[in-house]
Amino acid sequence: MIKLEAPHFITRHVLFALVAGGIGGVVFMFFLLEFDHYTSSNEFCTTCHSMTYADDSYQASPHYNSPSGVRASCGDCHVSEGIIMATYDHAIGTKDLIKQLFGPDYDDPVVNLLHLPEAAFAARDWFRARDSATCKRCHTLEAIQGVRANTAAIHQEETGGKTCVDCHYNLVHRHVPSEQTFKRESWNAMVEGEFGLEPGAAVRLLSSE
């Protein structure tokens, strides 16, 4: 009969620590999973008033309302898959929380809209750096049929060297020009016109931050 004997360094304390650590680790993993899940939800994102502006345009888009009933949540697109990358994205994302708390008043629709282009450029860079990984959670290039006869052919034959977001931007949120052609003065004038502000108000707002 083989007698299993624990090594001598496994003392009761060590054993206790291992069990507690193991359980703690599992609990922590579950916590992270739940945390990432919760912090990827639309409800969590829109607890900040500043995010409700993004929510408005999102709710008007096919990513919110599709005939098939598939609905992409904030996190489906903006948080990477897998617990490690999701946690990483959330950790990095805390900078947005810090800016929300200590930065400009993003809750103000004017301030929010004035800063939207930079946010859009950053988001596009994020998608590009990940080869549009979150798009591909749902969309499979080979399976894209589209509604027109040639949509499939375009996606098969014309996408070499491109990633989804190279062509598909301004899909869900308010239209922002490409970073290359963006013109701050025109954007400011648009914001001023939309909110009935006098010319120059946008520059003053931005410089007072």
């Binding site: 014309e158 491109k162 308010r174 020009p177 490409s178 013109k183 025109s186 400011n188 648009m190």
Partner: protein, 502 residues
């Protein structure tokens, strides 16, 4: 031979105008593009085509069928843009603009660009800009500006702050479109994209989208004219696809709009200044003959020939309010001579001149009998506060507007291009009916007890409305004639006979 009627006809100006109006035949055929072919054939163009063959096969096929393709000009050559351009967008990694403006086309088609700049076509939006609120905003609604006025006159294209084109101003291919790059006009107004077929632009249908309807029924006038009759019957002989298209040389079957207003004929070169050959302005309350003033900055201006011609070198205010130096002035006579030279490819000189006399007589009749009196009466009614300054809030204003803008324009256009129906039944007949049965009675009602003082002297001064003062003059046109006056002798004789027979 006196070629020019300039106020100070210097040799330089003569030479300049000679070249402008009578450039050698070689010029007619040679000038295609100014740019060296090394500048086109953008390497990215193939990628555009490959995808657009699937994404928008219609326009891709049109391009495949085009002379542009044959010459190696691709999508990027026309659509490429600078990052700083107001309407620049990023598209599949390239910086492009949706709108290809005359300035863009002018990179290669330099001569056409210069010719159309400042023409009545290029200025079509600027010319009516201050009138738009009256009809398109007050009377109807601003939706009508995009769907109506701007479709022909062009829109002031607005690029929104987010880089998109404002749908209130785009899509638009109106001929006086103000483009985001500041250039005026739209080549695709007449040259359907993306085939840009020569034959298509030479067809009368290239003009019909705008030159039709009650106020400028040029389509209808042309179709009802002998020219239109011959064109319809002999269209196969029009040689519309020919490389060069000189009237009298490459085709003789019939003229189209292009032939007379822009086309090469004999020694006259083709021009993209479509109003260059128009001696009259036919779309005003009163027609006037007009100078074409050419400025040193390349822009142009039309001025009534009732005023003294501006001198070369003087500063003059342009249509857009800025000042420019006068380079040359083309008189109405000169303009008439140019268009008459087109006629001479098929008609004799006497025939041509007599036709022009018939046309001028109609315009002068309209002016003196109806246009000038109506304008004068309206002016007094406004001056005395009997009409409010606001247009179209009083029935008389519609009556007056239709008198000159619709019926009066139809009569004048009909006479200019030989549609008897439009000159008369659709034109001057309606002018007369309107004038006597609506305009004058309404004006009298508006003038109230001042009617006799305001209106009668104006009518009397023309010397053409006196027939109204002879109500006893009979005519069988309405089917009734007064019974003949009793013949006293005959009656007496009849009575005598009766007596005899009894």
């Amino acid at each position: 031979m006196r070629l020019l009627s300039l106020p100070s006809p210097g040799l330089l100006a003569k030479t300049l105008l000679f070249v402008l109006l009578f450039g050698c035949l070689g010029q007619v055929m040679a000038v295609k593009v100014a740019l060296d072919p090394d500048n086109w054939g953008h390497p990215e163009g193939e990628n555009c085509v490959s995808c657009h063959e699937k994404a928008s096969p219609g326009l891709a096929q049109q391009w495949h069928d085009s002379a542009h393709k044959v010459a190696g000009v691709n999508c990027m050559d026309c659509h490429q843009a600078e990052q700083s351009d107001a309407d620049a967008i990023e598209h599949e990694g390239q910086i492009i603009a949706t709108i290809v403006s005359p300035k863009d086309c002018g990179r290669c088609h330099e001569q056409e660009f210069k010719e159309q700049a400042g023409s009545v076509h290029a200025e079509a939006y600027a010319i009516i800009e201050d009138r738009i609120p009256a009809l398109a905003q007050n009377m109807t609604g601003s939706a009508m500006q995009a769907a109506g006025c701007d479709q022909c006159h062009g829109s002031l294209v607005k690029v929104r702050g987010d880089g998109t084109l404002d749908p209130a101003t785009w899509p638009n291919s109106g001929i006086g479109r103000i483009n985001p790059d500041g250039s005026k006009g739209s080549c695709s107004s007449c040259h359907g994209r993306h085939a840009f077929s020569k034959a298509q632009a030479r067809e009368p249908s290239a003009c019909v989208r705008c030159h039709s309807g009650p106020d400028s029924p040029d389509k209808e006038v042309f179709e009802a004219s002998k020219h239109g009759m011959l064109y319809a019957a002999q269209r196969e002989q029009m040689n519309l696809h020919a490389d060069t298209w000189v009237a009298g040389q490459d085709y003789t079957a019939a003229p189209t709009c292009t032939t007379c207003h822009m086309g090469a004929a004999g020694k006259i070169p083709t021009t993209h200044d479509v109003g260059l050959r128009n001696a009259w302005n036919l779309n005003q309350p009163v027609s006037y003959q007009q100078y074409l003033v050419l400025f040193e900055d390349g822009s142009k201006l039309e001025l009534p020939a009732t005023e003294k011609a501006p001198k070369r070198g003087t500063e003059l205010e342009k249509a857009d309010g800025t000042m420019a130096k006068v380079k040359a002035v083309i008189t109405p006579d000169r303009r008439r001579k140019v268009i008459s030279l087109v006629c001479l490819e098929c008609h004799g000189k006497g025939f041509t001149e007599a036709f022009m006399t018939q046309f001028d007589n109609v315009v002068e009749l309209y002016n003196s009998k109806f246009g000038e009196p109506a304008e004068a009466i309206m002016a007094v009614l406004y001056e005395r506060g009997l009409l409010t300054p606001l247009p179209f809030d009083e029935p008389l204003e519609f009556t007056y507007w239709e008198l000159w803008h619709d019926e009066g324009a139809r009569a004048r256009h009909g006479a200019s291009m030989m549609s008897a129906n439009h000159a008369w039944w659709e034109g001057m007949y309606l002018v007369g009916r309107n004038f006597y049965s609506r305009f004058i009675p309404q004006a009298r009602a508006v003038a109230g007890d001042q009617a006799a003082e305001i209106i009668d002297p104006v009518l009397a001064s023309t010397g053409q409305h006196e027939w109204l003062g002879e109500p006893q003059q009979a005519n069988p046109i309405l089917g009734w004639m007064p019974p003949p006056a009793p013949d006293v002798d005959a009656d007496a004789a009849a009575a005598g006979n009766e007596e005899v027979s009894q």
